[in-house]
């Protein structure tokens, strides 16, 4: 038998280590939880990073500004809990009414088209649709409830997040330097450059997305308040949150608002739809291209396709993460295409 060369032995060892690592990451619950925690903290730190840099530029100590940011984050969190939650509860007490109304509306519709049910095909179809709608509503609420419970369970582990974020902010350089030692010395320079390129594009993308979401949330809140649609707070928060997803997000976010407005009267629903559409247009055509459109320089078709893939893989979070991951892959490909030649 031919003896294995040194190279192939090395590759086999790499392969085994890789498999073991991925098993460790995806199978062991403790490791999985830890990585999840670090990932969340990393995202928070990454969003806060531009703010931190700005504070440092204004002449603040890095540690002090990091502490300040963390304290601000905690303050906002506590404030939002103390102020928002009661309002949310007050609003959600009325939600059951709204759901009842929606059900009545569907029932009314059902009654209207009942004459059709003599036809067996239509009868089945209607039954099917009715059942579907009911189960979807039930599922959505159960899911949301379960999520909230789970969050409460994990509150203790989430309490560590601010600390991790602090160290990510304060010691970013040391941590990244240490992490780079994972790579061989020869390739470290290029890998560092690739990371810098990713950071250049992704950092701006994330920061502007957050700012735009806040703007859209506030504008939606004002519109809903003026039009006297129920639950302005929940709906605007929802719209702001969904706004992170390009193309599909605004539609998904505006839909609940329009439906709730429809319960009041069709004209208000129409106005809500028009105003939300206007906000989207202003955001999408005037503000966003200034920062994002040229930033990621990806064709809309590609963005839509990766959004669909992300949605299919991990649902909502897949859609949120799809564009950043797509950007990372694109930058890596482009850099390889540049440095390899």
């Amino acid at each position: 038998m031919k003896k294995l060369s040194k190279d192939s032995i090395r590759y086999i060892i790499y392969f085994i280590v890789f498999i073991l690592l991925s098993l460790l990451i995806f199978r062991v619950k403790i490791v999985k939880d830890m990585i999840y925690l670090v990932f969340i903290s990393f995202i928070v730190a990454y969003v806060l990073k531009p703010l931190n840099e700005r504070l440092i530029k204004m002449g603040m100590n890095r540690r002090f500004s990091s502490v300040l940011l963390i304290l601000m984050l905690i303050l906002i969190f506590v404030l939002s809990i103390t102020f928002l939650i009661p309002i949310l509860f007050r609003e959600s007490a009325n939600i059951s009414d709204a759901i009842y109304n929606i059900e009545m509306f569907i029932n009314g519709f059902y009654e209207k088209v009942k004459p059709l049910s003599n036809n067996k095909f239509f009868y089945n179809l209607l039954q099917n649709i009715y059942g579907r709608i009911n189960t979807t509503f039930d599922n959505a609420f159960n899911n949301a409830f379960e999520r909230v419970l789970k969050l409460g369970e994990n509150l203790l582990s989430f309490a560590i997040v601010p600390m991790i974020v602090y160290y990510f902010l304060a010691d970013a350089k040391d941590i990244s330097n240490r992490l780079f030692t994972l790579f061989p010395v020869k390739s470290r320079y290029i890998i560092r450059k690739i990371f810098r390129d990713i950071d250049k594009i992704l950092g701006r993308y994330l920061a502007t997305q957050v700012i735009l979401s806040i703007i859209v949330g506030i504008l939606t809140f004002i519109v809903l308040l003026v039009l006297k649609v129920d639950f302005p707070l929940i709906l605007s928060v929802l719209n702001a949150f969904f706004n992170i997803i390009p193309y599909f997000g605004p539609l998904l976010g505006a839909l609940p608002g329009v439906i709730v407005a429809f319960l009041k009267s069709p004209t208000i629903a129409l106005w809500t739809a028009i105003w939300l559409y206007l906000i989207q247009q202003v955001e999408g055509n005037i503000i966003s291209p200034k920062f994002i459109g040229d930033n990621i320089s990806m064709h809309p078709l590609v963005v839509i396709l990766i959004l669909v893939i992300g949605g299919k893989l991990w649902g909502f979070f897949g859609m949120v993460l799809a564009v950043p991951i797509g950007v990372i892959i694109k930058v890596i490909y482009e850099d390889f295409n540049y440095y390899i030649f």
Binding site: K186, K200, I287, F291, D294, F341
Partner: protein, 184 residues
């Protein structure tokens, strides 16, 4: 011959598109204006005129930065002023087909190589395809051998002369690679 080495080895005396893309642009007072989006070129005189930028300002967008207004650049660029106008963007001609005198398609323009000090364009990098790039390498054409047309680019270089190409070598091991090339 130095040009050849510079093209192959990538001596720091020439720039490519990527060296400037997404570079931050600030005014002389330290106010950030925007970031570089594209390169503006003039193939008639064969030079890079400046850069097109994405402006942070919503109401007074400043679109172009001409070469004469650039004070310095490294990680970010400092400019004295910016201007408006109508220029040929590099992306307008990127991914245009290049044909030779017989009408055969040779490839697509992917990148330009220009001089550090004079900003004169030395040549264009021609991609032959996503996969063939990695197998057979990219081609490098000199600026004097191409004519920009409306729909495609004509390459009228003499094929019997030198043709530059760039094959992926050991990118991570640059020093060793250089030695081999020089020895060869």
């Amino acid at each position: 011959m130095s040009l050849l080495y510079a093209l192959i080895i990538g001596v720091d005396k020439m720039y490519r598109k990527k060296d400037f893309l997404f570079m931050k642009v600030s005014s002389i007072k330290g106010k950030s204006i925007g970031f570089i989006k594209d390169i503006i070129v003039d193939f008639n005189i064969g030079a890079v005129l400046g850069f097109s930028i994405t402006s942070y300002m919503i109401f007074q967008p400043c679109v172009y930065i001409l070469k004469n207004n650039i004070l310095s650049y490294n990680d970010s660029m400092i400019v004295t002023s910016c201007s408006k106008g109508k220029f040929l963007h590099f992306t307008d001609i990127a991914y245009m087909n290049i044909i030779d005198l017989q009408g055969n398609i040779i490839g697509m323009i992917e990148d330009i190589i220009f001089d550090e000090k004079t900003f004169l364009i030395n040549g264009v990098v021609v991609s032959t395809g996503y996969i063939t790039n990695f197998l057979y390498g990219k081609k490098v054409f000199l600026i004097k051998d191409i004519i920009i047309g409306r729909e495609c680019i004509l390459y009228h270089g003499n094929k019997d002369k030198l043709i530059f190409s760039n094959t992926p070598g050991n990118a991570l091991n640059k020093e060793k690679n250089n030695e081999e090339i020089i020895q060869g």
